[in-house]
């Protein structure tokens, strides 16, 4: 079973601060990491490989320093990495096109695994766009998967309901974070990952004249203001008031 895991390097949003004057996120010095849900995709790939054998390739479109993040996934259990170096701030269309072109180059795959969305932008577009570009079936929001020799079955988490979906290979599956708990590599695996190959190609070498369809005009942090309402009178009375006010603001619904 040959598996391609698409993984994105993102800023560690938990370490990001917002400039209080301009409301712009301060990105300088914020550590980078693999988008959390992509690690779930990686874990699932390892599980499938443990069952069926095969090879796992990690594919990243990102800046040159994303190589270090790919190493993390090699330590977890991927066999090799491919980094498509591209300018930062490319849009979903460009990323999905580059991923598709790179995957055509890799070839010979059965499953492509992606996170349902990346934790920085959370658009959830890349998986479906990629499947469309490659003209292969897709299963999104998989909360559990069972890979068999000639088909894959997945429980799709649709919020209110669960949809069980089946597909033959090749297939693209996007996973939710509930699907598993990503393993930590051992110190031995980290050492060994130094000998696993990471190939690097430029976006230009895959396709020319790729232009964004979406333009990011500005990026601003969301600030939450507290109302600072204190209820300090009679406790029964206060509870009643609190419930009333929450209902009025639509936080509580009858």
């Amino acid at each position: 079973m040959n598996i391609i895991v698409c993984a994105k390097q993102v800023v560690d949003v938990s370490e990001m601060k917002i400039d209080s004057a301009t409301k712009k996120p301060i990105l300088q010095g914020v550590p980078q990491k693999i988008s959390d849900i992509d690690k779930n995709a990686m874990e699932e790939a390892i599980k499938i490989k443990e069952k069926h054998g095969g090879k796992i390739t990690v594919l990243t479109v990102g800046p040159a320093n994303a190589k270090e993040r790919i190493k993390e996934l090699l330590a977890m259990g991927a066999d090799e990495g491919l980094l498509v170096t591209a300018p930062e701030n490319i849009d979903y269309h460009m990323t999905a096109t580059l991923l598709a072109e790179a995957i055509k180059k890799i070839g010979g795959y059965n499953i492509i695994l992606c996170g349902e969305a990346s934790i920085d932008m959370f658009s959830g577009q890349i998986g479906p766009r990629l499947a469309a570009n490659l003209k292969i079936p897709q299963i999104t929001y998989a909360q559990s998967v069972t890979a068999e020799k000639d088909k894959i079955t997945a429980d799709r988490n649709m919020g209110e309901q669960m949809i069980i979906t089946e597909s033959t290979y090749p297939v693209l599956v996007t996973v939710t974070k509930e699907i598993n708990v990503p393993r930590l590599p051992s110190l031995m695996q980290i050492l060994a990952s130094a000998n696993k190959p990471i190939n690097e190609i430029t976006a230009d070498s895959l396709t020319k004249n790729l232009n964004p369809l979406v333009q990011t005009i500005d990026l601003k942090g969301v600030s939450m203001e507290r109302k600072n309402v204190v209820y300090k009178d009679d406790i029964d009375e206060s509870v009643k008031q609190l419930v009333n006010n929450l209902a009025k603001e639509g936080v509580l619904r009858g």
């Binding site: 270090e68 190493k71 993390e72 330590a75 930590l184 590599p185 051992s186 110190l187 031995m188 980290i190 050492l191 130094a194």
Partner: protein
């Protein structure tokens, strides 16, 4: 380009650090309070740590170890001790002393026999030098080993032995030729359940309460002749080499505990409001935190320097003692200040601050007291 000094960790070491930190946050931190309060020894945790490579860190992979360098080992010990001192000392004594002695001084046969189970975390190693009458002056060893046919017969008592009661394998220093003094001390491997080997008193301690500390009693304990570890009469010298390595590690453990206390105090100083503002807005609190941060960084650099020299296979006795002395002493100060910043809450067992404070004290005593470290440093200075 020649680089004289480089203070950045390599990407590989950063990944080690991040991985061990995540492991500690997930597997150790949630049970650290239980380990302390209930003197709980989490056997499963050590198996998990074995799988991670944490139970044979610097031992080559052919014996089941992780085969990482000494600096990476220090990074891991700092992370473990940051969340739990008891686990820190258990891992340190196992890696640096028990396992370390067998790997450094053992024959190929002894290495193959003992290291794989120890590095897997399924078995723990202990190391017994200290006796009731031989503490700082370890050469005053009274435990004896006499060769009788194909067996050594050991008699005597060891005290304060970390993991002594739970260890599967213990390295024991014993006098084989009293007339030669320290040169008459040899090291031996004693397996658990050997007839004549008993666990005596279990110590009730100030801190590191999740780490077991035991008295070991040898009463005509017979072990095979081939369990001599290293050369006859070289046990004391060997033990001193092992302690040099251990000292750097106690330095790393101290930095870890200090960092745990510092990080909590820093966070608290930002959150806790008095007089209408965070207490961290007061210069008195700021200076405490600034000193703590500075001292922790300085201590870590001393630890890394000693570990770097170990990796280069050059003499590091002085640097290891400096690292241990400085790191353990500043960590004492740090944990006291951290409690001060927490105020009354710092005194309460609900928070980990008082645990750091109790745990760190051992680091100025074990593997040579601060006075002994100064003695070693002075000797290295030619005094």
């Amino acid at each position: 380009m020649v680089i004289l000094l480089d203070f950045t960790l390599t990407n590989e070491k950063k990944l080690f650090q991040k991985t061990v930190r995540e492991f500690c946050e997930k597997e150790i931190k949630p049970i650290a309070s239980k380990i302390d309060k209930e003197e709980y020894f989490p056997t499963d945790l050590y198996k998990k740590m074995g799988k991670m490579g944490l139970m044979g860190m610097t031992v080559p992979q052919k014996y089941g170890g992780a085969g990482i360098d000494r600096i990476s080992y220090m990074i891991a010990l700092e992370e473990i001790s940051r969340v739990c001192g008891s686990t820190g000392i258990t891992v340190e004594a196992h890696n640096s002393l028990g396992l370390g002695h067998i790997y450094e001084k053992g024959t190929e046969k002894q290495r193959k026999k003992y290291l794989p189970t120890l590095t897997s975390g399924r078995a723990i190693a202990a190391w017994a030098l200290t006796e009731p009458n031989a503490g700082s002056d370890a050469s005053a060893t009274q435990t004896t080993a006499v060769l009788d046919g194909n067996e050594w017969v050991i008699n005597g008592t060891k005290q304060f032995i970390t993991s002594g009661d739970i260890a599967d394998v213990t390295t024991v220093m014993a006098m084989t030729d009293k007339s030669k003094g320290a040169k008459g001390i040899s090291a031996f491997i004693v397996e658990k359940d050997t007839p004549g080997f008993k666990v005596g008193q279990l110590e009730d301690k100030l801190g590191l309460r999740g780490s077991h500390t035991a008295e070991l009693v040898f009463d005509n304990c017979r072990i095979p002749k081939e369990n001599l570890l290293g050369e006859l009469g070289m046990g004391f010298v060997g033990a001193m080499n092992i302690l040099d390595r251990g000292r750097t590690a106690i330095g790393a453990m101290s930095v870890g505990i200090a960092r745990g206390a510092f990080e909590d105090a820093l966070e608290y100083a930002k959150q806790r409001q008095q007089f209408g503002k965070p207490i961290g807005k007061n210069q008195a609190i700021q200076w405490m935190l600034a000193d703590m941060a500075t001292e922790i960084d300085a201590a870590r650099l001393l630890v890394y320097r000693a570990a770097y020299l170990e990796d280069q296979n050059v003499r590091f006795t002085k640097e290891a003692s400096m690292a241990k002395l400085f790191a353990s002493e500043i960590a004492m100060r740090t944990t006291v200040k951290a409690i001060q910043i927490y105020g009354g809450n710092g005194y309460m067992r609900e928070y980990p601050l008082e645990r750091y404070y109790r745990d760190i004290k051992l680091c100025t005593i074990g593997e040579g007291t601060s006075e002994v470290q100064r003695m070693i440093i002075a000797r290295q200075l030619g005094l």
